[in-house]
């Protein structure tokens, strides 16, 4: 499926999420499902929480107890394949990479989008970070309803409708 459409299956996605009780704190969700020669996630993590090893073709593994949810890997991954997720009562809160204009602004409501590119609900923009290390890839904190925890992947502007 993924290798025909670009859409990861629900089962594949679940393998990248830690147990729900661990998501009280933000954790990296690493959706790299293929052996490709690449390792900036490992080398960028200040806490050694992402392991690839000497063979850079191996898929990254998250050492979930070491992950502090800092978000550095999110804007370091050239494949935009990492986000952070955490749960806050009825909300799911994400930190996602974003590379489009217009940039989202805090307080705006954007569409919440799933891995097929479909609108699944609303996403509230809570924070937008851009520091030089991110090299123009925005790190956007958004919240959605908790039921979108495993479906949400990105945001889309409502401005052009």
């Amino acid at each position: 499926m993924l290798d025909k459409t670009g859409i990861a299956s629900a089962e594949q996605v679940l393998t990248r999420f830690p147990k729900k009780d661990l998501l009280a704190k933000a954790k990296a969700i690493i959706e790299c499902y293929q052996d490709i020669p690449c390792n900036p996630c490992q080398t960028s993590c200040p806490f050694n929480a992402i392991y690839i090893g000497d063979d850079i073709n191996q898929q990254p593994k998250l050492l979930v107890e070491k992950c502090t949810g800092c978000g550095i890997c999110v804007t370091s991954c050239p494949g935009l394949a990492i986000m952070l997720a955490k749960t806050e009562r009825e909300k799911a809160v994400f930190k996602i990479p974003y590379e489009f204009l217009p940039a989202p602004k805090v307080g705006e409501n954007w569409h919440a989008i799933n891995r097929s590119g479909e609108i699944i609900g609303e996403a509230l923009i809570e924070m937008v970070q851009s520091i030089p290390r991110q090299d123009k890839t925005l790190l956007v904190t958004v919240s959605t309803k908790i039921e979108h925890l495993y479906d949400f992947i990105t945001i889309r502007s409502q401005a052009h409708e």
């Binding site: 025909k4 459409t5 052996d35 063979d55 850079i56 935009l80 590379e99 590119g117 992947i153």
Partner: protein, 364 residues
């Protein structure tokens, strides 16, 4: 006849990296580059690169170009650069003809490194010469170098990394990518690139190809069609898509023409992209002191082209009597990096191709 020590043909990632290590060893270098600027295809690449830190992973392509150019311009006492200069002939005796600003000049070098890169393949279909139909390189030049959109809505043909990445860049520029079609049953490039396109709502249609382009003066529609497992058109599955642009990204083939002209031993190796020179482990062709690196000896990622360049620069300099102070150590290091980059499933084609080119033990 102008005589030089080391001439590098092509100022892309492979040529620049070769120049760097050769000059570290104290060799004098002339880089001859066809375009107005050094950097090759890197200058058009706005995305962050894959690979390892040593090959500038997570750095955007145009920034990698800047770093590689800085690396060589640090050696201003050893370096000569000719831009807007095309090598139009290469002869077996290390002589070459350069065309620059309307003038042809003859050069002769003690050693030559050919780092000419690759050119795009095209696709045969009805009306494929309508205005509005581009190769992916042209789209990137227009859009990322000159800030000109190739159209308002577009269909991409080809799901290799270039097709996937250029589609994403088109969406960033505000072009509506209506579909990406791929004749093979599976996506060819990295799936992370495919996923980031799909989440933007771009349909990726595998087992699908373009049947014809439609339009009076310029492109107005494309007709796509599904393919069965034998790659035959399935009639009745044709669909029309309204677009004013079409981008073809169906692979690259090595720019071997100068090498063929210099009569070095060549071989057709499909896995490497077409005609490639037969080389020794040190990337020397059948002509002594004529070396090659980068896509001209097999289509790969820029990361491999850079490492090959570093290696060949070392070797060519040594041949001219300039031994790099850490020759053995860094040579081993570059070899290990190349092996690592090529060791995964995406390196398989290169491994098979090099085995065909050089014998089994080279590929390990």
């Amino acid at each position: 006849m102008i005589e030089k020590d080391l001439i590098i043909i092509g100022g892309g990632p492979a040529g620049l990296c070769a120049a760097k290590t050769a000059m570290e060893a104290n060799a004098k270098v002339l880089i001859i580059e066809r375009s107005q600027k050094l950097g090759g295809q890197l200058v058009k690449q706005t995305h962050k690169f894959f690979g390892s830190e040593k090959t500038y992973a997570k750095t955007r392509g145009f920034d990698i170009a800047k770093r590689l150019i800085d690396d060589v311009t640090n050696y201003s006492n050893l370096l000569e650069i000719m831009t807007d200069a095309t090598v139009v002939a290469l002869y077996p005796n290390h002589e070459l003809t350069v065309y620059q600003y309307g003038v042809y000049s003859k050069y002769k070098a003690k050693a030559i490194i050919v780092a000419t890169g690759a050119s795009e393949k095209f696709l045969a279909f009805e009306n494929n010469d309508l205005p509005g139909i581009y190769g992916a390189g042209a789209v990137q030049t227009l859009m990322n170098l000159y800030g000109v959109l190739p159209g308002q809505s577009i269909v991409m043909v080809g799901s290799g990394n270039i097709g996937l990445i250029v589609s994403y860049q088109l969406m960033q520029a505000g072009v509506n990518v209506k579909a990406l079609v791929e004749a093979a049953p599976k996506i060819g490039g990295y799936l992370v690139h495919a996923s980031k396109l799909r989440r933007l709502g771009v349909p990726i249609l595998t087992s699908t190809t373009i049947k014809k382009a439609i339009g009076n003066e310029t492109l107005e529609q494309v007709e796509i069609v599904s393919l069965n497992e034998k790659w035959e058109l399935i009639s009745g599955t044709e669909k029309l898509i309204d677009v004013d642009a079409l981008c073809i990204s169906v692979g690259l083939s090595p720019l071997h023409q100068l090498l063929s002209m210099a009569k070095v031993e060549m071989k057709f190796v499909n896995e490497l992209g077409g005609m490639v020179p037969v080389i020794t482990e040190e990337h020397e062709t059948s002509t002594k002191n004529l070396f090659v690196c980068g896509d001209v000896v097999g289509i790969e990622e820029a990361s491999s082209a850079m490492v090959e360049g570093y290696l060949v620069g070392l070797t060519a300099a040594k041949r001219l009597g300039f031994l790099h102070p850490n020759y053995d150590q860094i040579k081993q290091n570059y070899h290990d990096q190349l092996t690592n980059l090529r060791s995964g499933p995406f390196g398989l084609k290169t491994r098979i191709g090099l085995a065909k080119l050089q014998g089994e033990d080279y590929a390990r």
